[in-house]
């Protein structure tokens, strides 16, 4: 029986897979994820894809907000930049999807660098408002730069093709999403224990102290903005090629808030938390949806109540988590693990 976790060096402490059991269960979980599409129906796979995009976006936002402490109310705008970049590259310049995807990330990262510039001068509430303004300015550009974005009609995006195998169904796209989620999470998990990640945390905890210790705020803040926007751009590009259309309506202010909510509900400064948060925030409306369609057999008008109820539940989740569990689902998960780790002699 295990009676605790003992580490004798920092390297062991920093290890991602801390024991054989972690590796074992993770391997099992991955096999499960790969097998899902062979048993699940199209709707479940549709939701799974959405969760995948959300995980990529939420992990990106967590790098910026959770680890570096820079609040961004404009994450959806960067997803939009990525989505539009991918769509335009694929339809106008006939890029293949595999080239357009990283390019979309890079374009979004560039936009992130520009928006990140105010963060060098102001922080806290002021940065919050600067990113909020960026969100609305980008929305305006998506709608009104008609020669590029085709305005509110949007652009039709082709499905990605692997060899001569088009990824045009939920099931086929799922594998792409799964692969990208692994890449994104793996990179983020390694980033936060690297030199760069530690610099991010130092900036979050006290920027002046970080600067004194020789961390260049200029460089690392902009790096955080760029990485976070790169994630957003990739998530946006994946999303629009999954939906096969991109319109300005895909990236409203509300989506930015939703990503912040994922990060907060999941747990600020935790990669695992972003995953939990993304799953939770995507599943909740879908469950409400299922509930309302089940109820509507008994009460006919309940469908109309669904949209406002979703909003109320969404807001209530944010408020309740902030008041009662500020560290989010990641902390709940840690407590559950700690309970079973030393069970039955935990105290």
């Amino acid at each position: 029986m295990r009676c605790g976790d003992f580490k004798e060096s920092y390297i062991k402490d920093e290890r991602i897979f801390q024991s054989f059991f972690v590796k074992f269960w993770l391997a099992l979980f991955i096999i499960f994820l790969v097998l899902i599409p062979f048993v699940a129906d199209a709707y479940i796979l549709y939701v799974a894809n959405l969760i995948g995009f959300s995980i990529i976006g939420a992990v990106g936002l967590n790098i910026l907000t959770g680890y570096t402490g820079q609040i961004s109310l404009g994450h959806a705008a960067f997803m939009g930049v990525g989505g539009y970049a991918a769509a335009i590259l694929m339809t106008r310049l006939n890029f293949s999807f595999w080239l357009a995807l990283p390019c979309a990330g890079l374009v979004a990262a560039l936009a992130g660098l520009v928006i990140g510039i105010p963060s060098l001068r102001v922080k806290g509430l002021y940065l919050c408002m600067a990113t909020l303004a960026a969100q609305f300015i980008f929305e305006f550009i998506f709608i009104h730069w008609e020669s590029m974005t085709q305005g509110i009609r949007g652009i039709n995006v082709p499905s990605p093709v692997l060899g001569n195998f088009p990824l045009d169904t939920e099931k086929r796209f799922y594998f792409l999403t799964l692969f990208m989620v692994f890449l994104a999470v793996g990179f983020a998990r390694n980033l936060v224990r690297s030199r760069v990640g530690r610099a991010f945390v130092a900036i979050r905890d006290r920027d002046l102290a970080a600067e004194i210790m020789g961390i260049s705020l200029f460089r690392y803040k902009l790096t955080a903005f760029a990485i976070s926007s790169f994630y957003a751009g990739v998530a946006g590009a994946l999303w629009v090629s999954f939906m096969r259309i991109v319109t300005p309506d895909h990236f409203p202010f509300h989506l930015s808030i939703q990503y912040l909510a994922m990060v907060i509900v999941g747990g600020l400064g935790s990669v695992l938390g972003s995953i939990f948060g993304a799953i939770f925030m995507v599943m909740t409306p879908e469950l409400l949806n299922a509930l309302s369609s089940a109820l509507s057999k008994m009460i006919p008008d309940v469908g109309q109540l669904f949209i406002p109820m979703k909003e109320v539940v969404f807001g209530a989740l944010i408020v309740l988590f902030l008041i009662f569990e500020p560290l989010g689902l990641a902390e709940i998960w840690r407590r559950i693990k700690a309970f079973f780790l030393l069970w039955p002699f935990s105290y």
């Binding site: 609040i71 919050c128 303004a133 920027d207 002046l208 912040l260 109320v312 807001g315 209530a316």
Partner: protein, 325 residues
């Protein structure tokens, strides 16, 4: 579904459409007149912005919280006023007072159950909790009243005011008068009454205020209810001008530009900032809309916001304590 919500104040849109029509008839003769008309419209809108900005500033000054739920407060207030008016058949002044009473209670209750547990938490928590609150209130408004567009019954005489140089539509005129009176009353309360002094003391130094026997908790609750009152008056005024829908509160975000321009903690700045933004956004709408194909008016405040944050983040009159990195 967003067409009217994005315009915020419908009448202005109407005016500028007229303006564009006139432009084609006789550009040279009417240019000056259009310009003046736009300035007057801008000032009238700006008065309303100033009032809503005051709601932000009152809360920020005392508690250091930026209340992003202001828009939801506005919508809720407008609906409540409308319901008391049309369902209960009450006269306007009674409905107005009912709404104010509701706002006071709402402010105190929200401060107690939601904001107080978060005192001392990082900024992101406080900002997000007001956003969450906004979502809850908006959802509830949507649940109770259907999302259909409604208009207020006619409360004010419909004749527009002819200033000689320009015509002010009745809704805007009365909206401006309402906003101006409310603003003056708020300033008088703030400057002259005992509670006003307590609020100012808390704003300048919480520890000192506590040691002088001021109940800082009570001041927090009070500033939230004052903030809510300012927001619902703004909501009623805008509801009167352009009708009520659940998107009425979208203006609340535009007002962020006003408070940044005026300085987050300056009451005078909020009012002047409101007038400046009101005029600038209407001018931008007039001159830039033909170039960008519409919608400039709604995004112009955000451009201004970014500019101010880059150049002078503490605004025109704000305290220069903002920490630079």
């Amino acid at each position: 579904m967003n067409s009217f919500s994005r315009d915020g104040i419908g009448n202005l849109c109407f005016v500028s459409q007229h303006v564009q029509l006139y432009e084609q008839i006789d550009l040279c003769l009417l240019n000056m007149e259009i310009f003046l008309q736009i300035i007057i419209t801008g000032i009238a809108t700006g008065g309303v912005y100033g009032l809503i900005a005051l709601g932000f500033v009152l809360i920020f000054k005392a508690t250091g919280i930026l209340n992003l739920a202001t828009g939801a407060f506005m919508t809720l207030g407008a609906y409540i006023c409308l319901t008391v008016l049309s369902q209960l058949g009450a006269p306007f002044w009674l409905a107005f007072l009912c709404t104010l009473g509701f706002a006071i209670i709402l402010g105190i209750v929200l401060e107690r159950i939601i904001l107080r547990p978060l005192i001392g938490e990082p900024i992101i928590s406080v900002v997000m909790v007001t956003i969450g609150l906004s979502s809850i209130l908006q959802g509830l408004t949507h649940l109770i009243w259907s999302p259909d567009f409604r208009s207020f019954p006619e409360i004010f005489p419909p004749e527009p005011l002819d200033l000689g140089i320009a015509i002010v539509p009745s809704g805007l005129l009365w909206g401006f008068i309402f906003a101006a009176v409310a603003t003056v009353i708020f300033i008088l309360i703030f400057k002259l009454t005992r509670t006003g002094v307590a609020m100012r003391a808390t704003a300048s130094d919480q520890q000192a205020a506590l040691s002088m026997g001021i109940s800082v908790r009570w001041v927090f609750a009070l500033s939230w209810s004052y903030g809510a009152v300012a927001a619902v008056i703004g909501g009623i005024v805008i509801g009167n001008i352009s009708g009520i829908s659940i998107y009425l509160g979208d203006i609340g975000l535009k007002v962020l530009a006003v408070i940044i321009l005026g300085g987050l903690d300056s009451i005078g700045g909020a009012i002047l900032g409101g007038l400046i933004i009101g005029v600038l956004e209407n001018l931008a709408g007039l001159y830039l809309d033909p170039i960008f194909g519409g919608g400039v008016k709604d995004v112009a405040p955000f451009f201004i916001l970014v500019l101010i944050i880059m150049i002078r983040p503490y605004g025109l009159f704000g305290k220069k304590i903002i920490e630079r990195v």
